[in-house]
């Protein structure tokens, strides 16, 4: 039997090494020419509590973990409970569990044609005198055999992982792998995946890619403060920046972090920070001075469940309103959103392009799923991506420098941007301020001047909107009668959904503000039914699109709080019920 996707779950707790085993599977898949995606989930315990890893491998690119598991390894039935809402069994699921497990099978693990295989994990290790710690490698072996993957790939993977360890360690692990690989006597009838091309691909998380692509896009300064689920961006870019002569500061809080970013950017250096909801809320005042002083800044927000501390490890799309509207006063900004791991690459280029070109703050709304997923991806192209540079002022022979020059106001081609003279440039000294000011940057409390400067600052958005009018994707048949709009990780769930629902088309904006309104209107034209699907309680995108006049009351609002990805079953139900 051949299929093009397989879905695995590993569930256990501290010491079981479920994440380690799952990562080895992913690395092996990447080595074989398969695609795959992996997410993790935790119980309430800080470390050592229940944890689950979900892996989907596929012959084609895959960005969303599959709903119904084909193979489940569960080390303790009592560990399943925290994950009961997020795992579902395929009808013919294979379940591996310890031989010693005496408890009744939990409801969630039941399935019509369940194949239940007890494994004496403990005994197997003990028999060979292997330490407890080798369990994850042994489990990796068992799974590899069950998947029917070649032993060689598994061995290569282990050699790689332990390449910096002693030979003794390597051979012990190879032995554990071997025991696992040969344990199952009867063949498990899992379908076989045949890679379309034998090529080694890369395994990377959304956060890692955000960091790397930021540097590729020109980022040379980072300041941040740790917060789940964004910290890996700082940790990754910390390794990358020194290689390109960049600098990083770990700040004492998020206000300082974005402040440092603005300081570096004032110095002419493309700069960014990354955070999650609570940190983003703290950055609100600083975002305003970025708008006001026209100093570029890129801010990545890995959205988690809110409000307040919420659920730090789980994704939600409820920071949208904050990104669009937060901050006292009228403060222009741009808001972008990747929809999966690989699109983080494009998004980061767009972010630096817009920030540097239009001299304003750019928010990137990632989320916990995109941030933390490990995905096998193809080589990423950089050519063709926008890579704007800041328009600097080098002197114009004598006439005084105007930081916020309005000289071209009457030129319809002017995009509102005034060239910036960087510190160090002779003859163009000036001071900028968050206080309202005139062309020279001089403080002004004149109301008419304020209106003029507001016009200048927002003029940039008009031209930016023109440039980004095509920053969206359409999936499915654009003339299908049911048209759906979604963004972020929810969009990739819907992308998958529309491939099997031919009566549906999907619109995914890459930029949320300014929204590609004209494109959306085109997309919706002639629809018999339209829905906005999102993961937050209030329907933030829905109301935003209504505020723009782009949709009316006939479009459905389909939303619920975050924390769990939509499954196809749930989407079936939601579309059946119809939205509010």
């Amino acid at each position: 039997m051949t299929r093009n996707q397989l879905h695995l779950a590993l569930i256990g707790s501290g010491g079981d090494g479920v994440v380690a085993s799952a990562t080895m599977i992913m690395q092996t898949a990447a080595r074989m020419g398969l695609y795959g995606i992996m997410t993790q989930s935790y119980g309430p315990q800080i470390r050592g509590g229940e944890s689950a890893a979900y892996v989907s491998v596929s012959t084609d690119p895959i960005a969303v973990v599959g709903d119904h598991k084909d193979l489940v390894v569960c080390f303790r039935f009592s560990d399943v409970n925290p994950f009961r809402q997020e795992v579902a069994m395929a009808a013919d699921v294979t379940l591996l569990h310890p031989k010693e497990e005496q408890a009744d099978l939990p409801e969630v693990l039941k399935a019509k044609n369940l194949r239940r295989i007890p494994v004496p994990f403990q005994e197997l290790l003990a028999a060979e005198g292997l330490p407890e710690i080798a369990k994850n490698v042994m489990v990796f072996g068992i799974i590899l055999q069950a998947l029917g993957w070649q032993k060689k790939y598994g061995e290569d993977c282990i050699k790689d992982i332990f390449s910096r360890k002693s030979d003794a360690v390597i051979s012990a692990n190879l032995r554990a792998f071997d025991i696992g690989y040969h344990h199952l006597k009867e063949k498990i009838s899992l379908p076989t995946l045949s890679p379309k091309q034998v090529v080694k691909r890369e395994l990377i998380s959304g956060n890692e890619l955000c960091a790397r692509s930021a540097v590729d896009a020109g980022c040379r300064f980072f300041a941040g403060y740790p917060i789940t689920p964004s910290s890996e961006i700082m940790e990754t870019i910390y390794d990358l920046l020194p290689k390109v002569g960049g600098k990083l500061l770990q700040a004492e809080d998020e206000i300082a972090a974005i402040g440092m970013v603005l300081g570096a950017s004032f110095g002419g250096v493309p700069a960014m920070t990354a955070t999650s909801g609570p940190g983003l809320s703290l950055m609100t005042e600083m975002m305003g001075i970025s708008s006001m002083t026209e100093i570029p800044a890129v801010i990545v927000d890995c959205q988690r469940v809110g409000p307040s501390t919420g659920i730090p490890s789980r994704a939600e799309q409820s920071d949208l309103w904050h990104a669009l509207y937060a901050g006292h006063g009228d403060a222009p900004r741009a808001v972008l959103a990747p929809m999966d791991v690989p699109s983080c690459h494009r998004t980061m280029f767009q972010a630096f392009h817009l920030a540097e070109t239009y001299q304003l703050p750019v928010l990137v709304l990632s989320d916990a799923i995109i941030a933390q997923s490990q995905q096998i991806i193809d080589n990423l192209e950089t050519t063709g991506l926008p890579q704007g540079k800041r328009q600097t002022f080098q002197g114009n022979g004598g006439s005084p420098y105007l930081r916020f020059s309005l000289a071209h106001t009457n030129d319809p081609g002017w995009n509102g941007v005034s060239p910036i003279a960087l510190p160090g440039t002779p003859g163009t000294m000036h001071t900028i301020a968050g206080i309202e000011h005139n062309e020279m940057g001089k403080i002004s409390s004149d109301a008419k001047q304020h209106e003029i400067m507001n016009r200048k600052r927002f003029r940039k958005l008009d031209y930016l909107a023109e440039e980004t009018a095509s920053w969206f994707h359409i999936f499915g048949n654009p003339t299908a009668k049911h048209r759906v709009v979604a963004w972020g990780s929810v969009a990739s769930v819907l992308e998958r959904y529309v491939t099997t629902h031919k009566d549906m088309a999907l619109f995914v904006p890459e930029i949320l503000s300014p929204f590609p309104i004209a494109a959306l209107q085109d997309f919706l034209a002639g629809a018999r039914r339209s829905s906005i699907v999102e993961q937050n309680f209030q329907g933030q995108l829905y109301h935003y699109l209504r505020s723009l006049g782009t949709i009316d009351g006939k479009t459905e609002k389909i939303c619920r709080s975050g924390g769990l990805a939509f499954s196809n079953d749930e989407l079936d139900r939601l579309f059946q019920e119809g939205g509010a």
Binding site: D253, T428, K442
Partner: protein
């Protein structure tokens, strides 16, 4: 980069044409003059200087200099100055602001700027009042003054800025007052030349909300550090800083080699 020695700049070369908004008699005028004198003394090309401030009367200062400047947010001069200095170590970066800016809303950034020890000179213009918002008690307002004026926070003892900086590990700590421009400009120049974080506590009168009594008290009590005072002896520094708010001059100074632990000071981000 211009050669430092081709021309000799005058203090007025560092002033732009804007008229300060400060009240007549405000101490900040003298601080502004002292900035320009220090720059002229070191003959730094205008374009190599960047001054970052927060919000307050005092934080308007960069706007009157013919250098680069960033008049940021209340309390946030230090993070922004640090980002700038980290990205552009080729610039001479100074920060300035008021007592409220540094010791109320900005309190959290001060110890960490000190720990990172960037080559920044930070001048706090301490009028012991929130000037710009019309005279509320700041963290440095004396209890007696609060009591007299009926200000909020009478029970709270004032922050001791130089001692705060020293305790947090600042390698260069000095104090003077706006009435002594010679000393102030000299200390600013010393701070700039010092290869680490230099903190200068400058008493500067707010004639409008603190009143002239403030300057009179300074004038009455001000004195140099004792002749035998050793600003490298931490015990002596501790004793002086806790007991004597009117000793002026360099109060603490770490030997230069200990101070400059960031080896990479002059390479800007590529």
């Amino acid at each position: 980069m211009n050669d430092l020695n081709t021309i000799q700049r005058k203090p007025t070369d560092y002033r732009n044409e804007y008229k300060p908004v400060w009240c007549t008699g405000c101490g900040d005028y003298a601080v502004l003059k002292s900035f320009t004198r220090a720059f002229a003394k070191l003959n730094i090309p205008n374009e190599r200087i960047a001054v970052v401030s927060g919000i307050g009367c005092s934080s308007r200062l960069p706007g009157y200099l013919d250098t680069y400047g960033f008049n940021t947010l209340h309390g946030r001069a230090l993070p922004i100055a640090q980002g700038l200095k980290a990205a552009r170590p080729d610039l001479t970066v100074l920060a300035c602001g008021g007592d409220g800016d540094c010791f109320a809303i900005g309190t959290g950034h001060f110890p960490h700027a000190i720990r990172r020890n960037p080559d920044i000179t930070y001048v706090v213009m301490d009028n012991s009042i929130y000037g710009l918002t019309k005279g509320q008690a700041s963290p440095t307002t004396s209890r007696a003054f609060k009591e007299q004026k009926g200000l909020i926070g009478v029970e709270e003892p004032p922050v001791n800025p130089a001692y705060f900086a020293f305790s947090m590990g600042a390698p260069f700590v000095a104090r003077t007052h706006a009435g002594n421009m010679a000393e102030l400009s000299d200390l600013i120049a010393q701070g700039i030349q010092y290869p680490g974080f230099a903190f200068i506590h400058c008493l500067s009168v707010c004639v409008t909300y603190q009143g002239r009594g403030f300057q009179e008290e300074i004038d009455r009590h001000v004195h140099a550090t004792p002749a035998n005072y050793n600003p490298g002896d931490e015990r002596a520094v501790f004793d002086l800083l806790r007991s004597d708010p009117f000793a002026m001059g360099v109060l603490y100074k770490k030997p230069l080699d200990e101070a400059a632990f960031d080896g990479n000071r002059d390479v800007p981000v590529e």
